[in-house]
């Protein structure tokens, strides 16, 4: 039943820095709808298996934003990394209320497996990103399933951190741009989690990076985090990195956290530092 549904339809393909930026569509089992994702295959992918870097985008994004705006292709091509960028939520499910606001429902999957109606049939982004998508990618492309890293922006970073922390050893390296480090404590998280997970806050902790750290058994992680100092969401208390860093220090999780003067939350910020992040991942993926 699962394997039957692995068919991919190519939507677009563009040559970029010697490799190919492609977009595919498929029927998702977890999400019960058609999902698109973008994948960049570096020139090296023609002849050998490449490691894969997964990018999780933030609120309101689709699979297009990262591949169009961040300018990551040159670094990915040079270091020979395949880069996978899924969409941020199920689409076209006709759930009442899904399009009412930009930070809840469509484009705001928050990388959780929802337990509440009417979301729970479709909104299972955690399983999609952790299981279904990697399996699909590994089966369909010349990527090395043993070498995966993960990286993201904002809500995507929240996804990154929880995926990494809930699955120690799954990823060789982690990096983040302006992550939401502690959803249970920030306005976004509170709203989203109550909608997706119900009011029982104990369920929320399973999806909170800072909380997860406390019980992290600790295989070595090397995390690079960039945060724009002028980021409005930082100032609004949506991101809350300090607790996370403090917790990492306690747990001896390797982090280099860089507060970048003058930068805010947008893709301009991502574009500035994406090369550093790709190099950070390449160091581990190509080792």
């Amino acid at each position: 039943y699962f394997w039957r549904r692995m068919a991919l339809t190519q939507i677009s393909s563009n040559k970029c820095f010697g490799g190919l930026q492609k977009v595919f569509e498929h029927d998702s089992v977890e999400l019960n709808c058609k999902m698109k994702f973008a994948i960049y295959l570096p020139p090296k992918a023609e002849t050998e298996k490449c490691p894969a870097l997964y990018w999780l985008s933030g609120l309101t994004c689709t699979e297009q934003n990262f591949i169009s705006k961040s300018g990551y292709h040159q670094a990915a091509s040079e270091h020979g990394l395949a880069v996978v960028a899924p969409d941020t939520s199920p689409r076209g499910c006709n759930i009442k209320g899904e399009d009412e606001s930009w930070d809840f429902g469509t484009g705001a999957g928050f990388y959780v497996d929802t337990t509440e109606d009417p979301w729970k049939t479709n909104y299972r982004m955690y399983s999609y990103v952790m299981e279904e998508l990697p399996q699909l990618i590994n089966a369909s492309f010349l990527v090395d399933p043993q070498r995966m890293s993960i990286c993201g922006h904002s809500m995507g970073d929240h996804g990154v951190l929880i995926c990494a922390l809930k699955n120690p050893g799954n990823y060789k390296s982690v990096s983040a741009f302006a992550p939401i480090c502690s959803p249970v404590l920030c306005p976004w998280g509170k709203r989203v989690f109550s909608g997706y997970l119900g009011t029982d806050q104990s369920k929320w902790k399973a999806y909170d990076a800072t909380r997860l750290l406390k019980s992290y058994p600790g295989s070595q992680l090397d995390i690079l985090i960039d945060q724009g100092k002028d980021d409005q969401f930082l100032l609004d208390g949506q991101l809350l990195p300090d607790n996370f860093i403090a917790a990492c220090t306690e747990k001896k999780i390797l982090i280099v956290f860089r507060l970048q003067e003058g930068y805010e939350h947008s893709y301009y910020f991502i574009a500035t530092f994406i090369t550093d992040h790709i190099r950070h991942h390449a160091k581990y993926l190509n080792a």
């Binding site: 956290f257 860089r258 970048q260 080792a287």
Partner: protein, 699 residues
């Protein structure tokens, strides 16, 4: 042709009194043939023989005409004369495409009215063509056409139409002369014979006279025709030559174009142009006189034609005169030699001056004289000696010449002893992967002329071979280039007039990573440097804080020390072992960094500072007092520092965890040295000679 005309003549003669000369209506002005230039006079075809002959000749020449016609067509095309516009009645040659051609006056004829019915010698098809072509301008095409038209005899009518002119003897016989006096060459009346002057003269019947006069005329006309044909051919030939001249000119032009420099091309083309002009002028001259000749021929023909209208007596008078004239004319030599050949000499251009110039460019400056090494011990046998020399790297050298001559056996008489060997300051050796900087003590009280550094690769088993030596070193230090990843043994010798010293004690150098020592001269008084120059300690005890005089070399405010890094651009990597609870600063600084300020407080230093306070680790990356906001969760115990001159970068790493911490972009216009400071008591240990770990290579 002859037979035909004979036949015709015979036919004609069957009616003895008929003169079947003229087949044309002589009075029909429409049939006038055009002549050149500007005259609308015409040549009519009168004589039967002529016509017949012409016809047959026409047939024979038809082919030639046709060929000519084709050529003409070609030329029309070439000269772009198909355009009607050019074929207007004004035949001035304004728009001729070729320069030089327009200098020639239009040698043309008025265009024939195409409406005119005219039959040429040529088949009628060609006639129409010829008319349509009607060349207006200069060009051998026009020439040709004109010439052809000039001597074209028109067949205005079918032969039946031609009337034969019969001189009606009956009418005028009574009054007119009826005998011909051969002596006086004049017609007279019969009775005149009897009388006076004609008595003795020979007299023949007028008819006879007529006949013979006719014959004369015929013959001369025949000759004229022949001349006409000859001229025609000549004109054809001239035309061909014209074409060939142009063609050959074009070829030569191309020849030059493809082989030469623009200047020489221009010159030669000009000369060629001149030649072409000459040729064409000569040919033109000939053409003119050919035309004139033809003119005369035609005039003569015309006169003859007129003559034939006359009465018998007049005719005979004139016939005689004409015969004279014809005789003279035909005698005159017509020059049918082409005066100018169409071929151009093939020319080549003289490039010897260019070649000379090219040759002179290829000179390379002569190399500097090599320096011969002083003779090494054990390098000579009874019959051989090993000579080594070194070369300035700037020179291009193809080969060496070694020569020798025996000198006086006697020793130079200088009793000066060879110097003592120098002593290498091993502690001060600095190296990196590509070079070593050695310095030494002279080892001699007296001054020494120069030093020689000798290198041997430690891996090579042969003990004797000195791989390399650097000679003529004036001072007690030397920067020598080496290969990465090897080990070398280095010795130094001193030289003076007495010869070289023995080798110094050797020193070993490994070209792995970079080696340096901490520089005692820069050391703050509160710091102690270990014997090996790699550890710096700041003790609890402090020397009383008296005013420390400011110094250029020694740190006075900042408790710091600098290392002595080899001044070579490239990559340098070293590691520093630190204590987690230590406040320290590590990085690089220019040699002349202000010693009174903290490291990182100015723009002459870049460093990483660790401060441990309230159980929290704080890390700053300082340059010019500014630092980015960086948080590091795991404090490094060993810090790797990569100095990259090429990419202007300075990077810091957590060595144990292979973690990259931070990278400065720094403009390194001068050489920098590692610097270390201790803000709290403790020690820092420097590790050297380490090649870059893999994770570092990413940066």
């Amino acid at each position: 042709v002859e037979e035909e005309s004979g036949q015709e003549l015979g036919l004609d003669r069957s009616t003895p009194k008929d003169f079947h000369f003229y087949h044309m209506d002589l009075h029909d002005s429409e049939d006038r043939l055009q002549l050149f230039p500007e005259e609308n006079t015409r040549m009519r075809k009168e004589v039967v023989q002529a016509e017949m002959a012409n016809e047959s000749r026409g047939a024979g020449d038809g082919k030639a005409q046709r060929d000519l016609q084709e050529e003409v067509d070609e030329l029309v095309h070439l000269y772009g004369l198909e355009d009607d516009h050019e074929l207007r009645d004004e035949f001035v040659d304004e728009n001729m495409p070729r320069t030089g051609v327009s200098e020639y006056p239009p040698y043309v004829m008025k265009r024939r009215d195409p409406a005119r019915e005219q039959r040429d010698w040529r088949p009628s098809g060609e006639t129409a063509e010829a008319e349509d072509l009607g060349f207006g301008g200069w060009g051998s095409a026009g020439q040709c056409q004109d010439l052809r038209e000039a001597y074209t005899y028109t067949h205005g009518r079918a032969s039946e139409e031609y009337e034969c002119y019969v001189i009606p003897e009956e009418e005028d016989e009574e009054e007119a002369a009826d005998v011909f006096c051969v002596t006086c060459k004049t017609p007279i009346r019969a009775f005149q014979k009897v009388f006076d002057e004609h008595k003795e003269h020979e007299v023949i019947p007028l008819n006879e006279a007529l006949e013979s006069a006719k014959d004369e005329i015929h013959k001369n006309m025949y000759k004229l025709e022949k001349q006409i044909i000859q001229m025609e051919n000549f004109a054809n030939h001239l035309e061909e030559v014209f074409i060939t001249v142009e063609e050959n000119f074009g070829k030569q032009e191309q020849n030059f174009e493809s082989h030469t420099l623009a200047q020489k091309y221009e010159e030669k083309i000009q000369a060629l142009g001149e030649k072409k002009k000459e040729k064409l002028e000569a040919l033109y001259g000939q053409l003119v006189s050919c035309g004139e000749n033809l003119d005369t021929c035609k005039e003569l023909m015309e006169t003859i034609e007129e003559m034939c209208h006359e009465e018998k007596v007049d005719f005979i008078k004139d016939a005689v005169a004409m015969a004279d004239r014809l005789g003279k004319f035909l005698k005159a030599k017509t020059d049918v030699e082409i005066s100018a050949q169409p071929e151009f000499e093939d020319q080549t251009l003289d490039f010897s001056d260019v070649e000379q110039l090219m040759g002179s460019i290829n000179t390379i400056p002569a190399p500097s004289a090599p320096v011969i090494n002083p003779q090494a011990p054990n390098s000579a046998t009874g019959s051989s000696v090993r000579v080594c020399w070194s070369l300035y790297s700037d020179d291009t050298v193809e080969s060496y010449q070694l020569s020798y001559r025996p000198v006086q056996d006697s020793s130079p008489g200088k009793d000066q002893a060879a110097p003592s060997p120098p002593i290498i300051k091993t502690k001060e050796i600095r190296s990196c992967e590509e070079a070593v900087l050695i310095c030494w003590e002279s080892g001699n009280l007296n001054p020494v002329d120069s030093y020689t550094v000798e290198l041997t690769q430690a891996e090579s088993p042969e003990a004797s071979g000195v791989t390399e030596s650097v000679v003529g070193i004036p001072t007690c230090e030397s920067l020598v280039q080496l290969q990465p990843g090897r080990s070398y043994i280095i010795c130094v010798r001193a030289l003076n007039m007495g010869g070289p010293s023995v080798r110094s004690e050797p020193a070993t150098v490994h070209t792995i990573g970079s080696y340096f020592r901490l520089n005692k001269d820069t050391c703050h008084p509160w710091l102690i440097i270990s014997e090996d120059g790699l550890t710096v300690v700041r003790s609890e005890r402090r020397i009383p804080a008296r005013e420390l005089s400011s110094s250029d070399t020694r740190f006075t405010r900042c408790v710091a020390v600098m290392g002595n890094l080899i001044p070579v651009r490239g990559h340098h990597y070293w590691e520093v072992e630190v204590d987690e609870h230590l406040d320290y600063t590590v990085g690089v600084a220019f040699e002349d960094v202000t010693k009174q300020e903290d490291l990182g407080a100015n723009c002459l230093s870049w460093c990483m500072r660790h401060t441990f306070a309230s159980s929290r680790h704080r890390y700053e990356f300082l340059h010019n007092r500014t630092t980015p906001d960086i948080r590091i969760t795991v404090p490094p115990k060993k810090i790797g520092i990569l100095l990259d001159y090429e990419n202007s970068k300075l990077s810091f790493f957590n060595v144990d965890l292979s973690q990259h911490l931070y990278t400065f972009s720094c403009q390194l216009h001068e050489f920098v040295h590692p610097c270390f400071s201790l803000e709290t008591p403790g020690c820092l240990k420097v590790h050297n000679g380490i090649s870059m770990p893999k994770h570092v290579t990413f940066y």
